[in-house]
């Protein structure tokens, strides 16, 4: 029994890590610019389809496509931010919602046009398939890979935020934009680069998720709800918050399905409602 609990915890943690990668970008940009970007999962789709094209059509090895997925999503974010999002930083939340939903619709139709509505998959290298036996339990190799990638990413993000000048600028802009500008921080440039970073991470998440949850043009709408849940529960602008929230949600979702399968889909929403009622600003939220 204990071994199956450990197995469930492990799988739940891996699923949480996937949610984390998909959501952390939104948490940072939402906290930093107060910009409601509902098109966040469209960036994930860009990354996913990049991997599918490079690996499927051009025969690239899976791992090599991952940095390209990150880059493609980051690059797409530049013109979007410059020409559309930047004009609405001071607009109301509702207008930002409308714009970004419009962009989601456009992206869903565009991907359906270029890639058809077919379910996509990728070939991962042999050493990432199958499972690893340890201590009488089996752990899926791909999930180990997900966890390792997410941990490395978290480490890099936190190091970047704490120990680099750019990170300091981002933190200053999140805490108090006006003050940061007054001190000479190029807030616009910081926004642009943070947006690209957030989008790129979503793209990476999208590419990694193909193996676990598949990919088709409706991805941008399907996973939006889960991403919003992670961001809200974790607290805006907090990497640690997203990590904690994703972990809690991933594990409770898994454990719930194992121990109370009749609660099924209810559990993740109940957990979210309970956590938000307890801490409305999120686990690590500030305002």
């Amino acid at each position: 029994m204990l071994s199956s609990l450990a197995g469930v915890l492990f799988d739940g943690f891996a699923y949480g890590m996937l949610l984390f990668l998909l959501s952390v970008g939104l948490s940072v940009t939402l906290g930093m610019m107060n910009f409601v970007n509902l098109a966040h999962c469209s960036f994930a789709m860009v990354g996913g389809y990049t991997t599918v094209t490079l690996a499927g059509k051009f025969g690239w090895p899976f791992l090599a496509t991952l940095p390209m997925a990150f880059l493609a999503a980051a690059v797409i974010s530049f013109p979007l931010e410059r020409f559309f999002f930047r004009r609405l930083y001071r607009a109301s939340d509702l207008d930002q919602c409308l714009l970004t939903i419009g962009i989601v619709f456009i992206s869903v139709a565009a991907f359906a046009w270029f890639f058809s509505t077919e379910q996509q998959s990728t070939q991962v290298p042999g050493w990432l398939q199958g499972s690893v036996q340890a201590g009488g339990m089996s752990f899926a190799a791909y999930r180990i890979f997900l966890i390792v990638t997410a941990l490395i990413t978290t480490g890099l993000l936190i190091w970047g935020l704490e120990y680099t000048r750019f990170g300091a600028q981002v933190r200053a802009a999140v805490d108090n934009q006006r003050m940061a500008r007054g001190l000479g921080v190029d807030v616009d440039r910081a926004f642009m680069l943070t947006f690209a970073l957030g989008g790129g991470l979503a793209g990476l998440g999208g590419a990694l998720s193909i193996q676990v949850i598949g990919l088709d043009p409706t991805f941008a709408l399907n996973y939006l709800v889960y991403v919003l849940i992670v961001v809200a529960v974790g607290g805006l602008g907090s990497v640690g918050g997203s990590f904690a929230a994703a972990t809690v949600l991933g594990i409770s979702d898994m454990a719930g399905k194992y121990y109370f399968p009749w609660l099924g889909a209810f559990l993740i929403y109940l957990v979210m409602v309970a956590l938000l009622m307890w801490r409305p600003v999120g686990l690590f939220g500030k305002r």
């Binding site: 199956s4 799988d11 699923y15 058809s116 077919e118 379910q119 409706t218 399905k257």
Partner: protein
């Protein structure tokens, strides 16, 4: 007298012109489909299947041209499906309603078909009661009890399985499959040791698979909808170490559909499924169909949505031939009853009493043939009627 002759001549002339005009003007087929959203792929496969039939057999039947008018329902939205069906009848003057990927939409369309007295061909929706919604309706796809009850009986008898643990998705078709399989399995002497239902959009199956493994049944029965889920479930089973030699995995056809097999890879080997169509079947009618389909669809292979669309068009064409182009609802449905033909899926028939589809159910196992994973059929239950429909007759 002269006036009478002129009047008669004029009447004859108008009559002939009218008849000729009727011959000229096309047969309009209105198709409410879920062309956007979650079920877009199913709808586009179905439409391609219909278009392939038209390409292979020409677009003229009984002297009249065939015209397809498609509308997007967007998803399971019976209010929209009903409105679109009404508009197709009232605004576009369609003669026939066809398509209907999802059950709630087919039910709504059935209401319109019954009220407007229009011939209706359901090309996918698989819930048994759909056929009762309109006396002008026929179905050319499949019904869940047809496959699942047959599978349950087969598993307990020829399949040699004594116990089963069922895992289905928690929605209508899942519930229907669960009860169909379980009741037939138990009736044939088997024992259901437990069951679980997955939440609808469930992305990760580890917890459920672990539960199944803890119980250690002789066989697991699965029903999940197509899309990303079959592959995710297959992989979860491999990751959690379900040995298919010790625990038989029995699934519905969608579990081992093309995209799922591609994604699962060798972890799919030895899964046993029951279904009515596989695109890899080697019979010559199917091989020709697949080739033509690939040309129409831009390289994709057909699936069971496609065959529903293809055979639906066949039913329409044959019925029109019998009625010589008359599109009256009663005439067409009477012509369609009892139609028998050799489809790419095998022999099939439209039951003259229930108007539902009668076809073979194939039991297949995933095996490696050459370098590919193939659903290899190893048993066939011929010309199965929808058991739920048969039970309704007795009431």
């Amino acid at each position: 007298m002269r006036k009478l002759v002129i009047a008669a001549a004029l009447a004859a002339a108008f009559g002939a012109a009218g008849a000729a005009h009727a011959q000229q003007h096309p047969v309009k087929i209105g198709m409410p489909l879920t062309l956007s959203g979650q079920f877009a792929d199913a709808a586009s496969q179905m439409l391609n299947g219909a278009k392939t039939y038209i390409k292979m057999h020409g677009d003229t039947v009984a002297g009249r041209k065939i015209e397809l008018i498609t509308k997007d329902v967007g998803g399971p939205a019976p209010d929209v499906a009903k409105r679109l069906s009404q508009e197709l009848v009232v605004r576009d003057n369609v003669d026939i309603l066809a398509g209907f990927v999802l059950t709630p939409n087919a039910m709504a369309g059935g209401d319109v078909s019954a009220e407007a007295k229009k011939f209706m061909v359901v090309m996918n929706a698989a819930t048994s009661v759909v056929i009762t919604k309109s006396p002008y309706m026929v179905r050319t796809s499949v019904t869940l009890p047809q496959v699942m009850e047959t599978f349950g009986t087969w598993a307990a008898t020829k399949g040699g399985v004594k116990q089963v643990y069922t895992m289905v998705t928690d929605y209508g078709p899942g519930h229907d499959s669960e009860s169909a399989f379980q009741s037939a399995f138990k009736a044939a002497g088997g024992n259901v040791v437990g069951s679980v239902r997955f939440p609808v959009a469930n992305p990760d199956f580890s917890a459920f698979v672990q539960r199944a493994k803890d119980i250690g049944p002789e066989a697991i029965f699965i029903f999940i909808p197509g899309g990303a889920q079959p592959a995710a479930l297959g992989k979860a089973m491999a990751e959690r170490g379900i040995d298919k030699k010790k625990t038989k995995v029995l699934g519905s056809g969608e579990t081992t559909a093309e995209a799922a097999l591609k994604s699962m890879g060798d972890t799919a080997l030895d899964i046993i499924t029951a279904w009515h169509y596989d695109y890899m079947d080697k019979n010559p009618v199917n091989q020709k169909f697949v080739k033509e389909y690939q040309a129409v669809s831009g390289g994709r292979n057909p699936d069971f949505f496609s065959i529903g669309g293809y055979d639906g068009m066949h039913a329409i064409y044959e019925a029109l031939k019998k009625t010589k182009g008359n599109t009256d609802g009663q005439a067409l449905v009477d012509a369609a009853k009892g139609l028998k033909w050799e489809s790419p899926r095998g022999p099939m028939m439209i039951d003259p009493e229930t108007r539902d589809v009668v076809q073979n159910v194939y039991i297949r196992r995933v095996q490696k043939v050459g370098n590919e994973l193939v659903n290899v059929p190893f048993d066939t239950i011929p010309m199965v009627k929808d058991p739920a429909g048969e039970r309704r007759k007795k009431k």
